[in-house]
Point group: C2
Chain length 399, copies 2
């Protein structure tokens, strides 16, 4: 292993990875610096994020690689910078960085940077915790379709009920032009991706490791299918395995990319509650699908409804509504027929003819009021009468 | 049919109906006037309620029976009073009133008035729409056990799931000394009463007609059982059949008697949503039990959760909590293990021994930080090491 050293001419190596290599040396050098950064940091490293935001990726990397100094005006404290250097230095390994870039180039994986116009601006809401770059399998132009997007997530150990809902919601949402974002895991995630694909819709998978390593392995085929028509995205460079930390941080990307996050099924302590927490932190709409209270697979959804004010959603229309795209009727509580008409209808028979005194006794209403209401009801065809006695009209009787 | 006329000596006829006939002529006369009122009005007659509240039941009845005048200081407008007189007059039938009182006396039904100390004070929240009196089958002393009480209501066309939940909740709540109030209907209501009875708990049924007429007829045995250990209550005098209006008004009593109303299952337009509306109007806690979104029997519950801010309840503990009696843990979202410990744990192996540089590379953490955390983790027994290389401790590995 040899220590990584910056060489301007090495920047050319990222050319094939870029969306559109503009032949722009500055752009290439910046992208190269971000690719290197992505090898140094764990996801969500706020010190690196602040440094890059302030100095730009190239200067920030030079500051990071230097032994000391350089904190003035860098947006981070001297102490934070020093601690950062200690975190990053063990990964400044030339071979590891070269391997990540070569693997990406060799497998058609793209490097997407905030400077690119396909960069999903929703990630900017993560501030200094946004990814330094994205590694993408699939046509990066499709990232433009991430608005609007909904995150559909949930338990790996899902029930048939949960998988059915996830799949149906995903199919219906993509049918409305909404991209379905999820994590390619077993259970709800997989069902959501499959539902979107089966409807010919757009779906995007966020992986916790390098996108050259489909995870879980049992979903290699599914992930390949997603890459063919949608996109498979990770912030870790090629060769990196997912870890618990990376799963948790991957969840923040899923939450950030969706305008709303829908938890379809989740155990009481499911990892998808972590995604829900990120969505709430980011001010994204948070929704949960209820299920039987006797099912442990819905316990986490019910916690979200009880304790975290998640919106209860039962149809894809109600999910679309969270994005302001719904046509679900949010009508008033349409109670049964109430009021005096009900009292009068109770008193009327469908067979026997009754006079006003009889109706007054039966309904407890004043005769004058009964007469006026009978007149109105006769106009609507609800009652029939001869001016002295009334009964409910036949059309009403047969209902 | 002959017109009813007030006779002071007739008041003696209510003696056998009273909880404790105090030998108090004033009390008897008042109770008698309320019994007569209960024959004149439909449930919820606010003009009658205001008149009685202002003048007392006896004077109010005299005013009601007179042809004109008497509105000054009566708490209602002259016009309201006149309209009221027109509503009440058709029912001032001596035989009907006598029949109601005789039937009650003959079947052991009690007359309970707001002046009685067993009167459920929760009903006073209904203001002028409170019942003028209650007709009760069962020991009226049990009405004292209406605090605390929970209303458990729902669809007649309930599923096995809904009936199971209603029954389990009712059994568990009565086990905590909470009375279960419901409407004796088929489906959820019946399951709630049965659950309470099976646990030897207190349950109260509110009927929409006279309590001498069990409704529905198929629940005659159940209603008899409720009367034996709990109470069966109605505001209509004996001989009266339920009507749609009376069902809707009966629902307001159920909602008023429960400190919380729980809707277990309900179609999207179920009558139990009317009870829920009353509960909300009265400022009572409103809760709904979620179910599969694929089940029409839960659609009304989901509407309550979505549109009416009902509390999502999944256990009897969570219902008790609505009454401030719970011990359900309303804990923070306990996400998976997060933070630096997670990153370090990811980097540690359960088998291979790893040094700090290796762990730093794998975790992206600074070596110094790793050393200090390893020290703490070693103290808790989570890791084992020789000061140079570490791995996860055996106890942790086997988890």
């Amino acid at each position: 292993m040899s220590a990584f050293r910056w060489r301007d001419d090495a920047a050319a190596s990222v050319g094939p990875l870029l969306v559109a290599d503009r032949g722009d040396e500055v752009h290439r050098v910046r992208a190269y610096a971000r690719a290197v950064w992505s090898c140094l940091v764990e996801p969500g490293d706020g010190v690196a994020g602040a440094l890059i935001a302030t100095l730009g990726p190239v200067h920030a990397l030079q500051v990071a690689m230097s032994v000391a100094g350089g904190a003035a005006g860098a947006g981070v404290s001297r102490e934070q910078l020093q601690q950062g250097r200690e975190r990053w230095r063990p990964r400044l390994v030339a071979e590891a960085i070269a391997f990540a870039l070569e693997t990406a180039a060799g497998t058609g994986i793209h490097l997407i940077c905030p400077e690119d116009d396909v960069w999903p601006s929703a990630l900017d809401d993560l501030g200094p915790h946004a990814p330094v770059c994205l590694w993408v399998r699939g046509d990066p132009a499709r990232l433009r379709q991430l608005d609007p997007a909904v995150a559909i997530v949930g338990a790996r150990a899902a029930s048939g009920y949960g998988e059915q809902i996830a799949s149906e919601f995903a199919a219906a949402l993509t049918g409305r032009g909404i991209t379905v974002v999820s994590g390619a895991a077993y259970g709800i995630d997989g069902a959501a991706h499959r539902g979107a694909l089966s409807a010919g819709g757009m779906t995007v998978a966020l992986l916790a490791g390098g996108v050259d390593r489909p995870y879980p392995a049992g979903h290699s085929d599914l992930i390949d299918r997603i890459a063919r028509t949608g996109a498979v995205i990770g912030e870790l460079p090629c060769g990196n395995a997912p870890t618990k930390w990376r799963f948790l941080q991957r969840n923040r990307l899923i939450a950030a990319l969706g305008s709303a996050t829908v938890v379809v099924e989740a155990g009481a302590r499911s990892g998808s509650l972590n995604t829900a927490g990120h969505a709430a932190d980011l001010g994204r709409a948070l929704a949960a699908v209820p299920g039987p209270v006797t099912s442990g697979s819905s316990a986490g959804c019910h916690r979200l409804l009880r304790e975290f004010d998640a919106r209860c959603v039962t149809t894809a229309d109600e999910v679309a509504e969270l994005l302001g795209m719904g046509n679900a009727q949010d009508g008033m509580l349409a109670g049964p027929w109430t009021g005096d008409d009900t009292r009068l209808a109770d008193a009327l028979s469908g067979r026997a003819w009754r006079d006003v005194d009889d109706l007054a006794r039966r309904s407890g209403m004043a005769p004058d009021e009964i007469r006026s209401r009978l007149g109105l009801l006769a106009l609507t065809g609800a009652v029939e009468g001869d001016g002295f006695r009334w009964r409910r009209a036949a059309s009403r009787r047969t209902r």
